[in-house]
């Protein structure tokens, strides 16, 4: 039984329809995004499911997760704040921004807040050089840019995420 296929039958079909019928393998990247949409990482079962859908080995799928930075095969924070510290952003204070942000939250780069809400990461150029400091927020099956940021604005955003998660959980209860 393919759990991913059972869970998202329409989405899987739509993804496969984007490529020629004899080129199913091309669907592996969108399927990985689909698999990690809910909890921001891909499980072993989902890896096997994807491999079965597109007709490649589990190892092939794992190698793709390892090669590309936006796929995760272990749980991190529910959200990932990925700050660009590449040259153009660094010239506009991105390194200092990241350092101050981490100090304020009490985590180091790569670490997750104790409540599992946010992982802070440093990433390569995001094409937002003119609006640094900037980062992308990965989570809830979305990637959103936040530009011309300050530590204060970022802390407010994290609080908003925290409230959002609490409200969501309350709604589930």
């Amino acid at each position: 039984m393919n759990a991913l296929l059972s869970k998202y039958p329409e989405q899987v079909e739509q993804i496969l329809a984007r490529y020629p019928a004899d080129q199913k393998r091309a669907a592996v990247m969108p399927l990985l995004y689909l698999a990690q949409a809910e909890d921001n990482y891909v499980t072993k079962q989902e890896i096997a499911d994807i491999a079965e859908i597109v007709g490649i080995s589990d190892t092939d799928v794992v190698s793709i997760i390892g090669f590309y930075t936006l796929y995760h095969d272990e749980p991190g924070g529910r959200y990932r704040i990925q700050v660009c510290t590449d040259l153009p952003c660094a010239l506009r204070g991105a390194d200092q921004f990241l350092k101050n942000l981490c100090e304020n939250i009490g985590v180091r780069v790569g670490e997750t807040t104790p409540d599992g809400l946010v992982t802070i990461e440093s990433v390569m150029c995001l094409a937002g050089c003119h609006r640094a400091p900037m980062f992308q927020l990965q989570g809830d099956g979305d990637i959103a840019y936040h530009e011309n940021m300050t530590v204060e604005k970022t802390l407010a955003l994290i609080e908003e995420l925290r409230r959002h998660v609490k409200t969501g959980e309350a709604a589930h209860d």
Partner: protein, 423 residues
């Protein structure tokens, strides 16, 4: 001061042009309709060749010539729009796709007709998640309006467009790595030949064009090759979007005719350097560029493909101009660029994988007060050894800032090493 143009960044002149009805009310898809209903693919190719349009992704290869390489005895043909924009300092394709998406899509449609493709893809970097969703909606709107699909304008021509998201890998901007990624594989460059024009996506003849290149096509087909050639310089015709970043008062995208000087871009459009500092150097093509010392000769160099390469030994590339003021330590800068390339090296070929690794160790030592005096020479030697030996341009690019930085700003490196000796 040369006035900024809005042939590509048209949303700056026409509000809401990201809406299909507004784009059409302003002449949108007239060029596409004209080519499909009244021109042969070869005629379209001839106009584009004649316009002198060159690839805006970095290589500057003539677009029409590139299209002409596709063989007519192997089918189907594909067009892939390269929307992987990942060069540090480049953020132009993003603005086009966010704010003037239909002109880009119309360009992709014109290119598809010109090479006989019935299915074309937009390959976006994974971080452009929201842009991809927007394009998906735009493509659905075009299908609903009868501008995409079967039998367009009552002809035999059919065309469909699809988006495909990468997932965070600079190397996928290299066109053969992009194709591998689109096929669901690791984004590692292919050995060439065969070139994508013959053996591309799914093993079929494929044209890969940058977003900005494609966005030039509707106005070229609309106004003609002679009009396009009246802009820019003789060998670099047309307009270009310059992404200006770094130590500059007004960072952003500037659409200007090719051939405007660096001085004009930096001081008149960009408003000069903050805090009364002076320009020490600049990089003309993002992190892949050599570092150019900002003397009068450099500042007065016209920003076109020939002058930039010829006068400054620096590529114009994607025209991502990073400004460095007199407070920037070039050893620190080189450590930043090497760190980037080391992270982004795909690992397929040894000179790049090992070279960026060892350069990274050396630049780290130098900038962290742990270097020996001979480390500067060693770093230069490692970079020199990599040159000409890598499978794709990424490895070559990684050595540009290193070698030019040591050559032109050795004092910055020596100051770091002295810090180690005194530490």
């Amino acid at each position: 001061m040369t006035e900024q143009t809005t042939f590509l960044l048209r949303h700056r002149a026409v509000p809401n042009i990201d809406q299909l009805d507004v784009y059409r009310a302003n002449g949108g898809f007239e060029a596409f309709k004209k080519v499909v209903t009244s021109m042969q693919p070869a005629d379209v190719l001839a106009v584009v060749k004649d316009s002198g349009l060159r690839g805006r992704g970095g290589a500057g290869f003539p677009t029409g010539v590139k299209w002409g390489f596709l063989p007519n005895n192997i089918w189907p043909h594909y067009v892939v729009a390269n929307a992987d924009e990942s060069e540090p300092g480049t953020f132009k394709d993003r603005e086009i796709m966010e704010s003037n998406p239909f002109q880009f899509l119309e360009g992709l449609m014109i290119a598809s007709y010109a090479v006989g493709a019935n299915l074309s893809y937009v390959y976006l970097r994974g971080e452009f998640w929201q842009i991809a969703r927007g394009l998906d909606e735009d493509i659905a709107a075009l299908e609903a309006a009868g501008l995409l699909g079967d039998g367009l304008f009552s002809t035999q021509y059919s065309l469909r467009l699809r988006t495909h998201l990468g997932a965070g890998a600079y190397i996928c901007g290299e066109e053969t790595a992009l194709l591998e990624s689109l096929e669901g594989k690791l984004g590692q460059p292919r050995l060439r030949p065969p070139f994508p024009a013959v053996y591309g996506l799914f093993g079929k003849p494929t044209v890969i064009n940058n977003v900005e290149t494609l966005t030039n096509l509707p106005p070229i087909l609309d106004k003609g090759a002679a009009w396009y050639k009246s802009l820019g310089t003789e060998k670099s015709p047309g307009v270009k979007i310059f992404s200006l970043s770094g130590c500059i008062n007004r960072p952003g995208n500037y659409e200007l005719p090719l051939g405007v000087t660096f001085r004009e871009l930096i001081f008149e459009h960009g408003g000069g350097v903050p805090e009364g500092r002076s320009v020490k150097a600049f990089m003309s093509a993002g992190a892949s560029s050599t570092i150019v010392m900002a003397d009068d000769t450099a500042l007065d160099t016209p920003m076109d493909y020939e002058s930039t390469q010829g006068n400054l030994n620096a590529p114009l590339g994607s025209a991502s101009v990073i400004i460095l003021d007199d407070s920037v330590d070039m050893a620190w800068l080189v450590d930043k660029t090497v760190h980037f390339f080391r992270h982004e090296s795909c690992g397929k070929c040894t000179p790049c994988r090992e070279g960026t690794y060892w350069m990274g160790h050396l630049t780290h030592r130098i900038t962290h007060g742990k270097a020996r005096p001979e480390d500067i020479e060693l770093l230069d030697t490692v970079a020199a050894q990599m040159q000409g030996k890598c499978l794709c341009a990424l490895g070559e690019f990684s050595t540009m800032a290193v070698r030019s930085g040591i050559e032109k700003f050795r004092a910055d490196f020596e100051a770091n090493v002295r810090r180690a000796a005194h530490g």
